[in-house]
């Protein structure tokens, strides 16, 4: 089995809004697969469709080489959007219901509650939990059956920094142990830290996908300035094969590619052009992401 999940040309419309627009992707086995996109980009709708609680208008998906959502859900642990539990039941009582649905014994309950640091509140009612504790219980619930696949929608939502760090460690450890994790997030930082693969979506459309390093490749730039900018610009385009020279205020920005700043500086000074500014700008993933998802009204 190469791919745990295949999605092909999925479409879902809510009235005039297209939540998922011809979306196709493959989730490789044992990957930590991030679905990255801004709020309202269709992440949760996509996960809802593949878990079978929202019906797609068209398109196709299958799990584990040919299973539909209901056949595969027993082997998938999911936390979708907000954790939903019976408010009048305790943490343990809620997890017992999940255990019954998944047809597993109650022996794992204490362990997963311990994993998310909720063991001391196991007999408290869900309604008394804070947002972060509810989220932790949701994660415990997803882990309960020790499934091969985890689907986690914004798992660190509402957690404090310690909680965020804890949950990310759990996800990384699970990924290392060979489980496939599908993680939706609007936090680039999270995807970067946790995921091996990523699909960037916006307005329900796939913008980029692949291993994290490829999909979000971070390209450096060189920033230069001289007294005579037009002279500098014409020299650069004449001597180097530069695709694009951007002007930023009184500076020029060129893609770094294979260029070496010291060598440029040397050539320029030989030609009598003296730089008053030379720096390298390593493009952050953040701006890469923003650029990728920037509004393009075409």
């Amino acid at each position: 089995m190469e791919n745990v999940l295949n999605i092909s040309a999925l479409v879902k419309q809510y009235g005039r809004i297209t939540a998922v627009n011809n979306l196709s992707m493959k989730v490789p086995e044992a990957s930590v697969f991030g679905i990255l996109g801004p709020n309202g980009s269709g992440k949760t709708t996509t996960l809802s469709i593949i878990l079978g609680i929202v019906n797609a208008d068209s398109g196709y998906f299958d799990w584990f080489d040919g299973l539909n959502a209901s056949e595969s859900r027993m082997n998938i642990g999911s936390l979708l959007e907000k954790p939903n539990f019976y408010p009048y039941l305790t943490a343990v009582e809620n997890l017992k219901i999940t255990a019954d649905i998944k047809e597993i014994p109650y022996t794992n309950i204490a362990e997963v509650l311990d994993t998310v640091s909720l063991l001391d509140r196991k007999d408290s009612k869900f309604s008394t939990f804070s947002t972060g504790m509810k989220q932790r219980l949701g994660i415990a619930n997803a882990l309960l059956a020790n499934p091969d696949v985890l689907v986690l929608d914004e798992p660190t939502n509402g957690l404090d920094p310690q909680g965020i760090s804890d949950i990310r460690q759990i996800i990384i450890a699970l990924g290392d142990s060979g489980k496939t994790i599908i993680l939706a997030s609007h936090l680039l930082d999270e995807v970067e830290k946790v995921c091996s693969h990523v699909a960037v979506i916006k307005k329900g459309k796939l913008l980029a996908s692949g291993p994290v390093a490829d999909a979000l490749n971070a390209e450096g730039k060189i920033v230069l300035a001289a007294d005579n900018l037009s002279q500098l610009s014409s020299f650069l385009s004449k001597h180097y094969n530069i695709s694009k020279i951007e002007k930023e205020d009184d500076k020029l920005v060129i893609p770094m590619g294979t260029l070496y700043p010291a060598e440029i500086n040397q050539k320029l000074s030989k030609a009598g052009i003296y730089l008053k500014h030379l720096s390298i700008r390593q493009k952050s993933l953040e701006s890469q992401f923003l650029e990728l998802t920037a509004d393009d009204d075409d």
């Binding site: 809802s48 878990l51 079978g52 609680i53 929202v54 019906n55 209901s70 859900r73 027993m74 998938i76 999911s78 979708l80 907000k82 954790p83 939903n84 539990f85 019976y86 408010p87 009048y88 039941l89 009582e93 017992k96 219901i97 999940t98 019954d100 649905i101 998944k102 047809e103 619930n141």
Partner: protein
């Protein structure tokens, strides 16, 4: 089936609203039948000793329970189902592995269980009241009208299946309870006045509430109440409706995005 009932039981056992409503049903039954014998309108005693004797007691008690108190059970089912939508646990149950079909089946088994449990309570009350009030020489008629007990179970199941359809349709407790009561009390009676008479008896609320007929008719028309039996034709129609309501609930859930 055992698995689904086990899950449903875990959901409702610690649920205080459920306990209160079931308690209310039992207390209402109890109070009513304790006070029935002394109940008077002026000098008229509608519940004469005769009505609380075997075999009529089976008929009278099931009729009153069906007409007066089964709506409490309907409210219970509505609350239990709309809770699943309100807490979004229906969605959680499904992504945890329960099929939509089993979601509807679980609630169907639950409503049947509630109906059977309440039928047993009513039967027990009828037995106690009957034994209390029947003179020794009439004890040979003790089981003569006992078929009203299964008829009561059928009436309750059909009514609760109807309530469950409303709950899946409206999803919010308040509006569902309102629409359910309005339908039974106002909408269908008005509608029945507009349609040809031969169809009237096939309307859902009409057939469900006709399984156990008003018991005093045979007391007024003849002195022998022995002939009165449950209206099996209505029972059959209601059974058909029960399947229809459950099927429609499933279709609603199947097509819905949760």
């Amino acid at each position: 089936m055992i698995k689904l009932l086990k899950i449903e039981w875990k959901k409702i056992k610690p649920y205080s609203t459920f306990r209160w409503l079931i308690g209310l049903y039992v207390v209402c039954l109890l109070l009513f039948f304790i006070s029935a014998q002394n109940f008077r309108i002026g000098s008229f005693r509608p519940f004469s000793d005769d009505l609380l004797r075997f075999p009529d007691v089976w008929h009278n008690i099931t009729y009153l329970a069906a007409v007066l108190f089964n709506l409490i059970l309907g409210v219970i089912i509505i609350v239990l189902i709309t809770n699943e939508y309100q807490y979004k646990t229906i969605r959680q149950n499904i992504i945890d592995g329960l099929n939509r079909k089993y979601v509807v089946l679980a609630k169907t088994y639950l409503l049947i269980s509630i109906a059977i449990a309440c039928t047993l309570i009513v039967a027990l009350f009828a037995l106690i009241i009957g034994l209390w009030n029947t003179p020794g020489d009439r004890m040979d008629l003790i089981f003569d009208k006992i078929l009203f007990i299964p008829a009561y179970a059928a009436q309750t199941i059909a009514l609760l299946a109807f309530a469950s359809l409303f709950a899946h349709l409206f999803r919010k407790a308040g509006i569902t309870i309102l629409m359910f009561l309005l339908y039974i009390g106002v909408i269908e009676p008005i509608f029945r006045g507009q349609i040809p008479f031969k169809f009237v008896n096939y309307m859902p609320a009409k057939s469900i509430y006709s399984i156990i007929q008003f018991p005093y008719i045979d007391l007024i028309s003849s002195n022998s109440g022995l002939s009165a039996q449950p209206a099996w034709n209505y029972c059959l129609i209601s059974l058909g409706y029960t399947f229809l309501f459950i099927g429609l609930s499933y279709l609603l859930l199947k097509r819905r995005d949760l």
